[in-house]
């Protein structure tokens, strides 16, 4: 099965281990960093061990919804080997991965919002002592009524879960209409209507989240500045060091140029490590307090509590078709179960509707999506963010339409192909489009026509179409901002420098770089990555092998970047001040 096309052929056995082979686009190459990972050399976050390092643990709420009456850490602090305890009161400034929805605190301040919400953290000489100390922290709660169902939560206006929410338990509402849906459905020969429920999933990366913080005391530079003027370094298994950098600065009220975030190689993430979590703030604060390096490694259970997995959605869809199977319009209503915090939920709420408009053509489309707070771990982005759940609903509706209209499911999908060089109903630009080719190949490879009619009861062949966006900005709200940026410079030795912001596919950037520059070989490739958001290059946040999870990002983001890099290399030879890695 896996050998049937050129795409899955491996690199030839003779191919040299590290160098020698010219790097060419369209050819398979060894990964730049896989061998070190396979040899057990690569240092992931939990592999970092610093002199004098303390170990931290977080005390978590056993109640799904409770007011914190008091926290008494005196017994814990009196224990030998316990260095410090922090609680929500030590960092009350709310943050949010989406700057418009700061509704989360490093540890719960006044209220715990789900079972597993962090309420206090302790740093101790070793993990066992830290665990014992957690038991000695006394927390008094007043238990509140928990809400688990998004519709019930929205109805319970008098019981708002998140203290920063402005409208009861409504976390986000989006209503967008393209074309006249009611009119179009009025004239439909067939309406398929139904309710669909997606239960939610989590990422399950094999590496549990981990963070290490260290403070280097440095000379005070500015007179009259804060008394606490260390340089804080945080290593974290985060997907996006810049987000963490931004939020650490905000929550710890430390200038950004005194914080350095380093992203060691990741052991998988899939979206589950794309925002700051309690552990990073806690190790940072505890390191600042104790002056010692502090590490915190989640247990697998804590990974589930931190969650940010795919949102459960209750979807009610009405879709109209013509007699010959053309899709006229969709009227979609969706309740989204957000869990206790916003996370990326604003984006998810847009995506739950915006990503439905390809690969099929339609005349009109309306969606109303409401994301509710509930007393559960917060949901967030997971591979195919926001597009999977609506896809499930609409593809089931297409199958129902196929049955009702007596059409083959593949044929029905063909009849609705969007085509190339066009726009979706919600104005996404479509360049090339391989959907018809895809359908043809699937039809052939599955022996659709011959096998499908012969399968016994309980066995079947199914088909579903899908797309994902390249560049995630426009779908949230139409705007003209760039989707990604890269800057390439030449240095004095005629080496090239490539600046780009997202760390997530840095490995792929190297790979693309090597492919794209192969022709003009002879010059060494210098990869520079700088922090776009803070514009400061000193707290640089990248290691050559940083990579989160999947190489699909390469095709999505890096390929265009590579060609763009070549163009700008010709234009602006200007080297910035930033950390660099030399690539032989």
């Amino acid at each position: 099965m896996s050998h049937d096309d050129a795409g899955s052929k491996p690199v030839a056995p003779s191919a040299a281990n590290t160098s020698g082979e010219p790097w060419l686009r369209g050819k398979h190459h060894r990964k730049v960093d896989a061998m070190a990972r396979m040899q057990g050399i690569t240092r992931y976050t939990d592999d970092i061990k610093l002199p004098g390092m303390l170990h931290a643990k977080i005390k978590r709420s056993p109640h799904p919804h409770a007011k914190i009456i008091s926290i008494d850490a005196s017994r814990a602090l009196a224990m030998p080997g316990v260095y410090a305890v922090v609680t929500g009161k030590d960092f009350p400034i709310p943050y949010g991965i989406i700057p418009w929805t700061p509704d989360e605190t490093a540890l719960a301040v006044d209220k715990a919002l789900y079972v597993g919400d962090g309420v206090a953290a302790v740093a101790a000489v070793d993990e066992d002592t830290a665990i014992d100390a957690l038991a000695a922290i006394d927390v008094q709660y007043e238990v509140l009524t928990p809400l688990y169902d998004p519709e019930e939560a929205l109805a319970a206006r008098d019981n708002p879960i998140n203290p920063y929410s402005k409208k009861g338990n409504l976390s986000k509402k989006v209503l967008l209409e393209f074309g006249d849906v009611d009119a179009v459905l009025e004239g439909a020969a067939l309406i398929v209507e139904g309710d669909y429920f997606f239960e939610g999933t989590t990422h399950g990366a094999i590496e549990p989240h981990c963070a290490v913080a260290m403070v280097e005391r440095v000379e005070r530079v500015e007179a009259g500045g804060d008394q606490e003027q260390g340089l804080l370094t945080v290593w974290s298994s985060t997907q996006v060091s810049h987000y963490l950098h931004r939020e650490l600065s905000r929550v710890l009220t430390m200038p950004a140029n005194r914080i350095r975030v380093i992203q060691p190689p990741l052991g998988g993430a899939f979206g589950g490590k794309s925002e700051p979590f309690d552990l990073e703030f806690c190790v940072a604060k505890l390191a600042l307090i104790t002056g010692r390096p502090v590490k915190l490694l989640y247990t697998r259970e804590e990974v589930f509590y931190s969650h940010r997995g795919r949102h459960p959605m209750k979807m009610h869809y009405r879709t109209g078709f013509t007699q010959d199977g053309r899709m006229l319009g969709i009227d979609a209503k969706t309740f989204i179960d957000g869990g206790a915090y916003s996370s990326f939920g604003l984006v998810t709420t847009y995506y739950s509707g915006q990503l439905l408009c390809a690969p099929y053509r339609m005349d009109a489309y309306r969606f109303l999506s409401k994301r509710a707070y509930t007393n559960k771990p917060a949901c967030g982005p997971k591979r195919g963010h926001g597009s999977v759940q609506p896809r499930f609903a609409i593809e089931v509706q297409l199958d129902k339409a196929a049955v009702a209209l007596g059409l083959d499911p593949i044929e029905l999908r063909r009849r609705n192909d969007l085509g190339s060089d066009t726009r979706t109903i919600n104005e996404f630009a479509i360049g090339s489009n391989g959907f018809m080719e895809c359908l043809r190949r699937v039809e052939e490879a599955s022996e659709w026509k011959t096998r499908r009619p012969t399968l016994p009861l309980g066995r079947g062949l199914g088909v579903a179409g899908s797309t994902y966006i390249s560049g995630t900005n426009y779908p949230i709200y139409p705007n003209a901002m760039p989707q990604a940026a890269v800057q390439v410079c030449l240095d004095r030795r005629a080496g090239r420098a490539c600046f780009r912001a997202p760390t997530i596919s840095a490995r792929e950037a190297i790979r693309c770089w090597r492919s794209s520059s192969a022709k003009s070989s002879g010059c060494r490739c210098l990869i520079f990555v700088c922090c776009q958001r803070t514009r400061t290059c000193a707290p640089l946040t990248w290691e050559p092998t940083a990579l989160a999870s999947r190489s699909w990002l390469a095709t999505r983001a890096s390929m265009p970047l590579a060609s763009c890099a070549r163009k700008s290399a010709r234009r602006s030879p200007n080297v910035g001040r930033c950390l660099r890695t030399e690539w032989p």
Partner: protein, 332 residues
């Protein structure tokens, strides 16, 4: 990490030393550790000392006792050894299948048969961290006083989840136990009791030294069916052991006797009754499979103690019982 509680570890080299060590209060026996260590990491127990059988070589032999007509499997034999052992294959093939279906190859390389027959009962409300359990106030088997599976229940109904136990009972196996008061032998069908907090009649301080399977000279077909969602790692969601004694050595022959044992219900495996109806019928007669599946379905009521809806698991019991018999027939 999930730390183990602070405790001491003793590594005796002989059975006698192990039995002696077990007499000190707070001590607990450990073999492969694949059941006990996760439970300790979850703070389900708090022993102060583990007495390890890892160094007791005398427990890992497998022999056929021709005089007694018995297959004697040392309790320390790993499940990988049991699965691959030619003698077990020859005399108790359904035990090989069950042993080979436990967890994953990595765990089977470590897990022992003695640990498998003494595997603690399991429940979704108890095989969790102590923090998780604290959110529901524990239960009878842990820190609490109520049962979440049977609300109002006074008795723990956590599931006997061993793959090998139903098979061993269906084969009429017994256990050899050695304790401070000497050795005794107990039929496995009498070893388990319906109390999830303590589901065996093993005394503290007793060590299971061997599993004894009687040899038969008459024709027999025996099999084991396990349903899980993933093909590996998971504990059984339904578990059925079947053993048919036949009048001739072919599947078309009339059945002389049938034993069916079902696991993962409550704390005690259930021996299915009223199977006389299939005696005299041919094993390959489709009606046989239908009758046995019906009996299993009627008598076995899975509880909400392990994942998956209990009514669904009950339906699956019927389906998998039928399929297991069909597989025996197909194997000839």
């Amino acid at each position: 990490m999930l730390r183990l509680p602070r405790l001491d570890v003793l590594m005796p080299a002989t059975l006698d030393e192990a039995v002696l060590a077990l007499q000190s209060p707070g001590s607990r026996l450990i073999a492969g550790g694949t059941d006990l260590l996760p439970n300790l990491k979850h703070r389900l127990e708090s022993p102060t000392m583990l007495v390890s059988l890892a160094g007791v070589r005398e427990l890992s032999t497998i022999t056929v006792d021709d005089d007694a007509q018995e297959l004697v499997i040392g309790a320390g034999a790993t499940l990988t050894t049991v699965e691959q052992c030619p003698q077990v294959r020859a005399h108790a093939p359904s035990l090989c299948s069950a042993a080979g279906l436990v967890a994953s190859p990595l765990i089977r390389n470590q897990a022992t048969l003695g640990g498998n027959v003494n595997l603690d009962t399991r429940c979704r409300y108890v095989n969790q961290t102590d923090f998780w359990r604290s959110a529901i106030g524990g239960c009878i088997k842990s820190e609490g006083t109520v049962c979440h599976v049977v609300p109002g229940g006074k008795n723990c109904v956590a599931a006997m989840s061993s793959d090998c136990v139903p098979v061993l009972i269906s084969l009429g196996a017994s256990l050899q136990l050695v304790g401070p008061n000497g050795r005794r032998r107990v039929a496995m069908k009498d070893y388990y009791v319906a109390d999830g907090t303590r589901h065996t009649t093993r005394e503290d301080g007793e060590v299971t030294t061997a599993v004894i399977v009687p040899l038969v000279s008459t024709p027999r077909r025996a099999g084991y069916s396990k349903w899980t969602v993933r093909g590996s790692i998971d504990f059984p969601l339904t578990s059925v052991a079947l053993c048919f004694d036949l009048e001739r050595d072919e599947v078309a022959a009339p059945i002389a006797g049938a034993t069916v044992v079902v696991g993962v219900l409550g704390a005690k495996p259930r021996v299915v009754t009223r199977l006389d109806e299939v005696v005299g019928k041919s094993l390959s007669d489709p009606e046989t499979a239908a009758i046995v599946a019906e009996r299993v379905h009627r008598q076995c009521k899975p509880l909400a103690n392990v994942p998956y809806e209990a009514p669904y698991r009950r339906q699956m019991l019927r389906v998998h019982t039928r399929r297991a018999i069909e597989a025996l027939v197909a194997d000839g």
